[in-house]
Every structure is written in structure tokens, then in C-alpha cells.
């Protein structure tokens, strides 16, 4: 199959995207208009995707166009929507059924969405007086606006006025929602430092659900030794793993950027904790990915022109239990080190090898083909297979990925 001269468009001036497109012999769309349709491949911002799929725009994608977000991706990637959908999915599932199927919901810390659930939060806050909470804007990224909370009065930061525990509702200064979760204060530490995992998941179809998991990723380390000392509660270099924050630490290294490969982490966990503990951890991580995607399957607008590469942020606690922190629709493609660049270059390359095999636009039938591994991606879940095959494949995918 000859490589076609596809036209590409990108809202991001990122080398890992552009180099991939150029290396494939694709040409850049010359049309400068944001709503132009003179492209086949578009790596877009979430806002432009929303505009494209807005019925008022009158825009219709043709069969030779593919874009990197689903129209209402925010159902999964906005923190408040993610929590809402997971809670709804849990309620909907018959307990017996979801336990039989292996779905487990015990990966989301107790979370409340402000302002709506403020009173519920206050109740829980008083029930657990020594609990630390983490407050996050629902729709921001890179650690912006996040703080740790031990006193209700600290909510003044987001309310703009004094907040007391007697208040039954919270009026926020800005229009944005916030999510407030129980802070996991016993994270797994390596070398005394807190870290979280960034892992990549590709969804090529929601109905039926087809999920690919990438075998490379990294742990993002804090630069300061972890402590639960209240005096350090505002020290973001201790508590927040975002590279956007840690890069300002005096101890930040340009050479490794605080990023520890997931291969190394897997090796460490297996060697230091044993193979069984490692396998359970991986199974739990896969469960987080599948359950979260399943929770939005019914609500996501499945569109044949769309795929989405998510950045999952997962925190391991001291018992090796993984917790879901958030899911990113536009995981950062900035590269901070040569190793990082290599990873992301290969990641995008493998994404397009899946979504556009041989530069062809696959139809639904082709999308369901039984290929289980492409580059660093392996199929984690393919709902199109019957139940028996699905179970065998899930085990095989874990093995391949491992």
C-alpha cells in the first residue's frame, strides 16, 4: 500500500508531532483559517475540536479526515465530570454483576464537587478531623490552582470571602467548579520522595470499546523529601508531582527532569516487593483504566473520525494500591530530556500506525481487526470480541505489555 500524501494540521508547535508528520511524507495544510477543512490529519486543541463538532459551525468531517479528540471528551477528562460519571456508573452497576466481571471502583479517593456538594463535604470534613484534603480546579492543568486543605477557612482562597464550617453553601469567586478529594497522605516513596505515574492509553472506538495501552511511561518525582509535617503542607515541591511545578525547584535536574521510566519502576516493584504484589498492582491499574473508560462509554459521542490518546495520572500508595488522580485529554508533548523525546516521538508514531495503518482510513470493520500489538501499544480491551475471548486476551495483553 503506497503512502499517501496526506495533509496535516496541528495546533501545537511540538517537535514530536511535526517530526512524525514530516517523516511520514505528509504535507502541512497551508490553509491558515482555524475552521479550514483542508486537512486529513489534525492534532487539535480540545477547544477547536469542540468548535468543529458544534452543530452551529456547520462543519462536517469527511471520510478522509481524522482528529485526535472525541467531541465530548471532557466527560472523562474534566475532573468534576470524571467523578460524576464514575459515581453514576457505580450506582448503575448491579453489585453482583460488576464484581463478577471484575470491575472494582475502589480507586477514587472520596471526592466532592464544589459548589454543589459543599455541604456533604463539610459533614465528611467534621467526621475526619485529621484528614488532609486536596482542592483542584475542575478544568485546569499543570497543577494550577491546587492546594492542600486542613481548615475550612482555607477555602477563602476560592470563595473570595471568609468561609466557616457553619455555612451550608459555598459561593465561589470564579465560575469554575472545584473538586475536593481526600489527600492520599501515605504515597509510595522511592528514595523518600513522592511520585505519580503518567501512563498512556489510546481509545480508537467507544462503541464497541477498544482500548490500547502503551508500554512506556514514567514516574514524575518530587524534588523534596516527602513529609506529612503540617509546616510543609504548602510546599508544592513536596506534594505536587507536576513537572510544570517541579521544574522551578532548586534541585530540578535538566538531565532526567525528575522522570523515572515505568520499566525501571516495574522492575523495582517486582524486585523489592515480589512478583505477586507487582502483578496485583498492574491488574489494579488496568482496572482503573477500563472502569473509567467504561463509565463514559454510554455518554461519549462515538465518532468514526475520532480517536483519543489519554494521559492517565495514577498515584501508588504505600501498600502498592493505585489511585486515579486524573485523566488528561491533552497530555503534555513537551520534551524535557532526550529520553523523554524518544518516548513521545515513538508514542505519536505508534498512535498513527494504529489509527492510520499504511496511511489508510480504516472503516469500522478494519478497526475491529484482531491485531493486538502495534509498536509499544497492546490491546488492553476489545469489546467486539465475545466474552470468552475477551478474558483470554486481557491476560495475554497484560503479558505482552509486561
Amino acid at each position: 500500500m503506497q503512502n499517501k500524501k496526506l495533509k496535516w494540521k496541528s495546533d501545537f508547535e511540538k517537535s514530536v508531532i511535526i517530526e512524525n508528520f514530516v517523516n511520514r511524507g505528509w504535507t502541512k495544510s497551508q490553509d491558515k483559517e482555524e475552521d479550514s477543512s483542508d486537512w486529513n490529519v489534525y492534532w487539535a486543541t480540545v477547544w477547536n475540536v469542540r468548535n468543529i463538532f458544534n452543530p452551529k459551525s456547520g462543519f462536517r468531517l469527511n471520510d478522509q479526515q481524522i482528529i485526535n479528540h472525541f467531541p465530548n471528551h471532557y466527560e472523562l477528562t474534566r475532573k468534576d465530570c470524571m467523578v460524576k460519571n464514575l459515581k453514576r456508573f457505580k450506582r448503575e452497576q448491579d453489585k453482583e454483576t460488576y464484581e463478577q466481571q471484575g470491575w472494582n471502583f475502589d480507586f477514587l479517593p472520596t471526592t466532592y464537587v464544589f459548589p454543589g456538594e459543599y455541604s456533604l463535604f463539610v459533614e465528611e470534613f467534621h467526621r475526619c478531623p485529621n484528614q488532609t484534603w486536596i482542592v483542584k480546579p475542575a478544568a485546569r492543568s499543570q497543577g494550577k490552582g491546587i492546594f492542600l486543605l486542613r481548615k475550612i477557612q482555607q477555602l477563602k482562597k476560592i470563595a473570595g470571602t471568609t468561609v466557616t464550617s457553619n455555612m451550608t453553601q459555598l459561593n465561589l469567586a470564579s465560575k469554575e467548579n472545584y473538586v475536593v478529594s481526600k489527600y492520599i497522605d501515605n504515597p509510595l516513596l522511592i528514595g523518600g520522595k513522592k511520585f505519580d505515574l503518567r501512563m498512556y492509553v489510546l481509545v480508537t472506538n467507544y462503541k464497541p470499546l477498544k482500548v490500547w495501552i502503551y508500554n512506556k511511561g514514567f514516574g514524575r518525582f518530587c524534588n523534596e523529601q516527602y513529609t506529612t509535617d503540617v509546616a510543609e503542607i504548602e510546599n508544592m515541591f513536596v506534594h505536587l508531582t507536576n513537572v510544570a511545578i517541579q521544574q522551578y525547584s532548586d534541585k530540578y535536574s535538566q538531565k532526567h527532569g525528575g522522570k523515572y521510566s515505568i520499566d525501571a519502576l516495574k522492575f523495582y516493584v517486582e524486585s523489592a516487593y515480589g512478583t505477586e504484589a507487582f502483578q496485583k498492582m498492574m491488574d489494579d491499574i488496568h482496572n482503573i483504566m477500563l472502569t473509567s473508560l467504561k463509565s463514559v462509554q454510554a455518554v461519549i459521542q462515538n465518532d468514526k473520525h475520532c480517536f483519543e490518546m489519554y494521559g492517565y495520572d495514577i498515584l501508588l500508595d504505600a501498600n502498592l494500591k493505585p489511585w486515579l488522580i486524573e485523566i488528561n485529554a491533552s497530555p503534555s508533548l513537551t520534551t524535557t530530556t532526550p529520553v523523554d523525546k524518544n518516548l513521545k516521538l515513538n508514542l505519536i508514531n505508534d498512535v498513527y500506525n494504529i489509527v492510520l495503518p499504511n496511511d489508510d482510513f480504516p472503516d469500522n470493520e478494519q478497526k475491529q481487526q484482531q491485531i493486538t500489538k502495534v509498536g509499544g501499544f497492546s490491546v488492553l480491551y476489545d469489546e467486539s470480541l465475545d466474552l470468552m475471548n475477551r478474558k483470554a486476551q486481557k491476560r495475554q495483553s497484560v503479558k505482552i505489555w509486561k
Binding site: 528514595g191 520499566d263 524486585s271 523489592a272 512478583t275 507487582f278
Partner: protein
């Protein structure tokens, strides 16, 4: 020397899988007989070599139980003299380093980074100054000196072919199926005797059981409390600052930049600070690194370990940090590995495991099996040994990913020898041979090795046997 009594020997025997295999064989062989006397057992045992196996097993237990004395004197006198000269040189270097640190304290803009007492290049340069002395010992082959070899030393050397033959089985290693891996796991859990653990380590060690195997091999598996207490005592001593602490902190900087080890930076430094204060090292180390003569009027003496810390000492600790979350375990393993094996990489000695012997083996193999490469490197002013000395002395740490490094450590235990490093160094040179043959000068060679590369244990073994 510690001797085991009969009861202790029996206990050690009973903890060996081989013992139970022998017993099973005896039972099966003699099972039909009504009356079994000692003579019957003896006859049967002799007929199917069981007596031989049992004798070897008991000898091995007795041998391992004897505490090895630290080698202070070499059989070759000039090496003893050389060791004294080396120690004197290191004392001079120490003075220079101390002066440099003082200068840096006074002048912040002075960023002279050569703050170490010696590195592998210094060591190799020193070895190069040896001249051919002493007659060879009759039991071993003589090394036929060729003027184009970097090292010009007449010491007893094993045949390089015997080393190649010893590790050739690695070429046939296949990926094991789950059931075989599970079998090995059970073996490690049940086995206590080191000869059996060595056999496992020679072939395959599952990641999840590696720490247990190492602890059992070093007989630490039931001594965690003791290890913890000893480590805690050493940690307490670290509150008294030593000049060497500063050098260790500087040394840790390179590890702190390594993408595989930066997370363990604090643990590595803690282990090393405890190490240079550990008085038991002097009696446990298999070979004396420096001649510990007390210098008159010197500001600093040798640390209590009996040797100076050197550049990149941090590297030896780093891979072991993957094996446990407990620092006292990491420390115990590092101390054992260093005292048994890595010490030889820094000792002026004719021992088989010594840096001198390993270097000469590598030169011998490359010059005979890849003469074109050997000659080409000489012509362009790059020496074979200078190219691989870093990988040799630091066991490829920093060049290979941690799982491959720990496979090297497995092999070291498996054969109670560092000779695997000879195989890997030869493999390393063979792997890059096509590019090296095109290199016109040292800059080209440096360029080859500065590119992003991934060297793997099994891959280098394969290359070692390619001609």
C-alpha cells in the same frame, strides 16, 4: 579458622536439595532389599557415584565454612612493591584533592570538578607502568608478551579459551516458560546451600526472588535484626563528619543525574558514608586494596576500611537499591559484593579476579580473535583497554539498564568470579567493531560511544563469541 562440627555439617547437608536427591536415589536403589547393612549402602553408593557426589558436597560445605583470610601479600613480589607505590600516589592525590576543596571553599567561581582520589583511568595508567618481572609460576600458562599489548606484566594467567568455554553455555539460554520460572522460584525458597544457589544464579534468577537468593547466598536471610542494628550504629557515627564524606557527596552527583538511579541518591550516599566508617570491612574484604602504612604527619589517614574511596564508588551501590526498600539490606548486600568481588577491581594483584588479570585476558582475546580491530585501534591512538576500562571497572553500570546489571551480579555469584566481565567487554568491542573500524581518530571513537545506545547482557554475550 571456623570449623563446623558434625551436627552443623548434617544441618547444612539437610538444607541442600542435592542431599535429598541422593537420599531418594539410595532409597530407590536399595528399596527392594529386606536387610540393608552399611556395606550394602557403600557398595551401591560407589556403583552409581553417589559417594563421589556426597564427598564433593561435604567438601564444599567445609570449604565455604572456612573464613577466607584477606589477601595482603601477593605471590609476586614486585606487585607488593607496586601496591606500596600506588598507595603513596593516592596519598599525594588526597593532599591535592584536599587543597582543591579548600580553594573551592574560598573561591566559589572555582569549579574544578576533579575532586576524587583516583579513577579507573588513573588505575590503568598505573598498571601500564609495570615492567616485566618475575618468572611465571609453573602451574599456569605463560603469557607471551607482545610489544603491542598495553599491559606488560608476567603473571600467571588462566587460558582465555577456558574463560570463553566456561561461559559458552550462556549462548544457549532460552526464554523460560512460566512453569519453569515457578519451579526456580520454589527452588530458591527451599534451597539454602550455596552450591545450589550458585547453580540457579548461573542460569536464571526471577526478579522477584533475586534479593532472597542473594541474602541466602550471603547467609543473611535470618539475620535481619542484626543487620538493622549494625547499620543503625554506623548511621549514628555519620553524625561525625569526615573529609571523605565531602568526596562521596561529590561522587554522588553523577548518580543523581542518571535516569535509572537518581531516585536512590540519598540512600546511596547514606550507604557509602556508613561504608567508610565500617570497621568490619578490613577483616571481611578478600583482598587488601592499599598498603595501609600509617603516614607520618599526614592530615588524613586511610579510612577504617583500609582503602580510599574512589571516583564512581556510588555506582556499585546503585543497582542494589532495586532489590529492597530497606536500606540496611541494601547496605549488607553492597558490603558483601564489594568485599567479595568488586574489591578485586581496585587491587594491584595477580589473582584471577584482579583488574590486572581481567585486563590482560581481554587484550589476549581481542588481539587473537579480532586482530584487525586490535591493530586499528592502536593505529588511531585508541587502546582496546582504554576503551573498555570504564565498563570493566564499574561492571557496565550506567551502560546497561538495571535488569541487565543485576544479571551480571547473578553471574558473578553463580561462578564466584568476575570473569563474566571479560566476556561482556569482548562482546562490547565486537558489537561496535564495524563503526570502530571506520573511525579515523579518537574524536570519532568518542562520537560512537556518545550516541544514545542500549547494551544488553545477552546481546553482548552473543557478540563475544562472534568472530
Amino acid at each position: 579458622m571456623q570449623q563446623l562440627d558434625n551436627q552443623e555439617i548434617l544441618m547444612k547437608l539437610k538444607s541442600s536439595k542435592q542431599f535429598w536427591d541422593i537420599k531418594k536415589k539410595l532409597k530407590q536403589g536399595l528399596g527392594d532389599q529386606q536387610k540393608i547393612g552399611v556395606n550394602d549402602i557403600q557398595k551401591f553408593a560407589q556403583s552409581c557415584e553417589i559417594e563421589d557426589q556426597l564427598t564433593k558436597l561435604i567438601s564444599h560445605i567445609l570449604r565455604k565454612s572456612k573464613k577466607r583470610e584477606s589477601l595482603k601479600e601477593d605471590q609476586i613480589e614486585f606487585l607488593n612493591t607496586s601496591k606500596i607505590k600506588w598507595t603513596e600516589l593516592l596519598f599525594k592525590n588526597l593532599d591535592i584533592v584536599h587543597q582543591k576543596t579548600k580553594n573551592q571553599e574560598e573561591d566559589d567561581t572555582n569549579t574544578d570538578s576533579k575532586l576524587y582520589i583516583y579513577d579507573e583511568k588513573n588505575l590503568l595508567a598505573f598498571l601500564q607502568t609495570f615492567k616485566q618481572q618475575q618468572q611465571s609460576i609453573a602451574l599456569y600458562q605463560n603469557v607471551q608478551f607482545q610489544s603491542n599489548k598495553l599491559l606488560n606484566v608476567n603473571i600467571p594467567l588462566k587460558s582465555s579459551q577456558s574463560i570463553l568455554d566456561k561461559y559458552q553455555y550462556l549462548l544457549l539460554q532460552e526464554e523460560l516458560q512460566d512453569d519453569k520460572i515457578n519451579k526456580i522460584r520454589k527452588q530458591i525458597e527451599n534451597e539454602h546451600i550455596d552450591i545450589e544457589l550458585e547453580k540457579i544464579a548461573q542460569t536464571f534468577v526471577p526478579n522477584g526472588e533475586r534479593c532472597l537468593l542473594y541474602l541466602k547466598y550471603f547467609e543473611f536471610d535470618h539475620q535481619e535484626t542484626v543487620l538493622q542494628q549494625n547499620f543503625a550504629k554506623l548511621q549514628k557515627e555519620c553524625s561525625n563528619q569526615l573529609f571523605y564524606d565531602e568526596l562521596l557527596e561529590i561522587d554522588g552527583h553523577e548518580i543523581s543525574e542518571d535516569t535509572f538511579y537518581f531516585v536512590f541518591q540519598e540512600q546511596i550516599l547514606t550507604c557509602l558514608k556508613c561504608f567508610i566508617r565500617d570497621r568490619t570491612i578490613k577483616e571481611n574484604i578478600r583482598i587488601q586494596l592499599q598498603n595501609g602504612v600509617k603516614k607520618e604527619h599526614a592530615e588524613f589517614q586511610l579510612p577504617v576500611t583500609g582503602f580510599f574511596p574512589f571516583k564512581n564508588i556510588s555506582k556499585y551501590v546503585a543497582p542494589l537499591c532495586y532489590l529492597s526498600t530497606k536500606i540496611h539490606i541494601i547496605y549488607a548486600l553492597f558490603k558483601e559484593f564489594f568485599c567479595r568481588y568488586f574489591c578485586f577491581l581496585h587491587a594491584i594483584s595477580s589473582e584471577n579476579n584482579s583488574i590486572l588479570s581481567l585486563c590482560m585476558q581481554i587484550e589476549e582475546i581481542v588481539s587473537t580473535r579480532s586482530p584487525k580491530l586490535f591493530h586499528h585501534l592502536k593505529v588511531i591512538g585508541c587502546d582496546t583497554l582504554k576503551l573498555i576500562i570504564h565498563q570493566l571497572v564499574y561492571c557496565f553500570i550506567g551502560d546497561m539498564d538495571p535488569p541487565h546489571i543485576l544479571t551480571i551480579y547473578d553471574s558473578i555469584i553463580g561462578h564466584d568470579s568476575l570473569e563474566i566481565l571479560v566476556i561482556l567487554c569482548v562482546g562490547f568491542l565486537n558489537k561496535y567493531k564495524p563503526k570502530l573500524l571506520l573511525a579515523k581518530n579518537q574524536e570519532n571513537v568518542q562520537q560512537i560511544f556518545s550516541e544514545l545506545r542500549e547494551d544488553r547482557f545477552q546481546e553482548l554475550v552473543q557478540f563475544a563469541y562472534k568472530q
